[in-house]
């Protein structure tokens, strides 16, 4: 690290001021909207239009949280989101791992199959969501938990497959080969040897699948209505100018972003792999 420092910044020229300014500016840029949202969520409605704006409410209140969770059915959305995201995450991580193992160890279907899965990641959702809406209405999956779980499983599968694909490829196969030589079946070699070794990778893939489901809006907007609606769709209630619902919107946003941020920051070691579908090792 110090080598880079001296190489890139020849002695006598000190640029750290510029660096600090840039980082400082960017940190403020990142934190400002988050802080203002938090501030709005605990601010009494009387302070909304105060000039100058109130940055530190003198009398913080939780009324907006209460209204967002109960009057605007935020709690229901939260529970739906939790059920749907968890179920889809488990299915996606499981099926993704199975497929990735086959692709990595047996080169199943050659490059075509793996690129076919990858191409699904880049399909614009608008192309699928219309027909899925029609199909779901036809077979009774519209506005159901099951329908959303299936949709989110498929929606997160390409990332799960490719993350695990990359993970298995950089994992030595000697243990599995030894197991096979010892007479284990392929299933045994996979289930009792490879799976436990790949556990950290599976957890990371699951975390990213969960965040993707938790924050997804478009599918939920189209495929749910009054019963299986997820948390992000509740924000539709706050659109427009008609009112003083800023606090409610902010409160619900805070409730919703805490779990995904916590998970994301915990899994940040795997972030690069998650963002690039395993193409880049973090």
């Amino acid at each position: 690290m110090s080598a880079i420092r001296s190489a890139r910044r020849p002695k006598g020229r000190s640029l750290p001021i510029g660096r600090i300014l840039l980082l400082g500016f960017f940190l403020v840029f990142v934190l400002l909207p988050l802080y203002w949202m938090f501030n709005t969520s605990i601010k009494p409605s009387d302070d909304y239009l105060a000039i100058p704006p109130v940055w530190f409410p003198a009398q913080p209140t939780l009324v907006h949280y209460e209204a967002a969770l109960f009057a605007y059915r935020g709690l229901e959305g939260l529970i739906n989101s939790l059920i749907i995201s968890l179920a889809a995450t488990i299915l996606s991580a499981l099926f993704g791992t199975l497929m990735a193992y086959s692709l990595a160890r047996y080169n199943t279907g050659g490059q075509h199959l793996s690129f076919w899965v990858l191409s699904q990641r880049f399909l614009p959702p608008i192309g699928i969501v219309l027909p899925v809406f029609l199909i779901y209405r036809g077979i009774g999956l519209y506005d159901t938990h099951a329908g959303m779980i299936i949709a989110y499983t498929v929606f997160t599968l390409p990332v799960s497959v490719w993350m695990m694909f990359a993970y298995f490829r950089q994992m030595p196969k000697s243990m599995e080969e030894a197991a096979l030589v010892d007479g284990c079946t392929r299933w045994q070699a996979f289930w009792s040897v490879a799976m436990p070794l790949a556990a950290p990778g599976i957890v990371a893939a699951a975390v990213f699948a969960f965040i993707a489901c938790w924050t997804e809006f478009f599918f939920a907007l189209v495929l749910t209505s009054r019963s299986a609606f997820t948390l992000p769709t509740v924000f539709r209630a706050f659109i427009g100018f008609q009112g003083a619902q800023y606090g409610e919107a902010a409160a619900l946003a805070i409730v919703s972003l805490v779990p995904s941020i916590a998970l994301g920051v915990l899994a940040q070691k795997h972030l690069v792999r998650g963002l690039t579908l395993g193409a880049v090792r973090g």
């Binding site: 192309g127 007479g183 994301g264 690069v272």
Partner: protein
């Protein structure tokens, strides 16, 4: 433990394994059985819908017009000759192009400042990546809270800084509403560029810079001669991934402007959504989404395949 292992060793030495017929069958088709659940799901919920929508786009499927008669290319014509559709495509290209460009430059700049280790780097890192884990809906909501008149503090802050009254309608006034949409996108996705480019930067061998320093190369020259070419593949990857997501832009528009005023902020996704789900011209929307899909597929075919093949793993 000893006995089963011995038995297993005997099997592998030539004795036929005692597997039931089902087990033997599943062992033979092992690699395909592993692939099956994922493939079946993708076929059922992605490929089948796509084919179904292809059918729909050639027939009449409209909640306002009864019947499912074959109409040929009429649905496609409706989209192609709709000025709103064309505008939405232009806007999609413009917004995503500008957003991704800003994200790239800003992400690279921040990544360069973060290459070297310093006190508090870990903490700053954790803060900078936070936007990646937030729903775009909430990002739109957060910027609405900051920008919207009269509630948001933005105009007040600008007034103080500029010393004159600022009354910009950030969600209603062109061109400011485009600025708002771009700022929200930049806020959310600059960390994406930053994280990937930082990974690329840390992978450049430091001894290259040491050698350059011995040769008396200044830092600009070092950047163009060492950093830029080494970072090339990573830049291409980050730009491709980001661009393919940016052209789907929908959520922030839905929350921040609702496509308005009028149809000024219709992106391709937003246009197709409106045609399909508020006007219920479903066949016109599917025809349009197929056209959009073809655009995307061309980009994917050109960039992604080559990109991932070139990547040394």
């Amino acid at each position: 433990m000893a006995t089963p292992l011995t038995v297993k060793r005997m099997h592998s030495a030539g004795a036929p394994p005692r597997l039931s017929r089902l087990a033997a069958w599943s062992e033979r088709h092992f690699k395909w059985l592993l692939v099956a659940p994922a493939v079946v799901l993708i076929l059922a919920l992605s490929i089948y819908p796509l084919l179904f929508s292809l059918v729909v786009s050639f027939i009449n499927y409209d909640f306002q017009v009864p019947g499912h008669a074959f109409v040929g290319l009429k649905n496609f014509e409706r989209v192609v000759f709709d000025p709103v559709a064309r505008w939405s495509l232009v806007l999609t290209a413009g917004l995503s192009g500008v957003s991704v460009a800003i994200e790239f430059v800003l992400g690279l700049a921040v990544a360069l400042t973060m290459v070297r280790n310093f006190r508090g780097r870990g903490l700053i890192m954790s803060v900078l990546i936070v936007p990646l884990f937030i729903s775009p809906v909430i990002v739109g909501q957060a910027w609405t809270l900051l920008l919207q008149r009269p509630f948001g503090p933005t105009n007040y802050i600008l007034s103080q800084l500029l010393g004159q009254e600022v009354t910009i309608g950030w969600m209603t006034q062109s061109p400011w509403l485009y600025v708002s949409l771009i700022v929200a996108d930049v806020w959310q996705w600059t960390p994406f560029m930053f994280v990937i480019l930082l990974a690329g930067l840390t992978a450049i061998p430091p001894n290259l810079y040491e050698a350059a320093e011995l040769d008396g190369v200044n830092s600009w020259q070092a950047f163009w001669a060492i950093t830029f070419p080494h970072l090339g593949p990573m830049m291409l990857l980050a730009l491709t991934f980001r661009l393919l997501d940016a052209i789907r832009m929908f959520d922030t528009i839905y929350i921040m402007t609702g496509g308005g005023p009028g149809t000024q902020t219709y992106t391709a996704s937003y246009y197709l959504y409106t045609v399909g789900f508020t006007q219920f011209h479903l066949s016109q929307a599917t025809a349009g989404s197929w056209l959009f899909l073809i655009f995307t597929a061309i980009v994917v075919a050109m960039l992604v395949r080559r990109l991932l093949r070139a990547e040394p793993v």
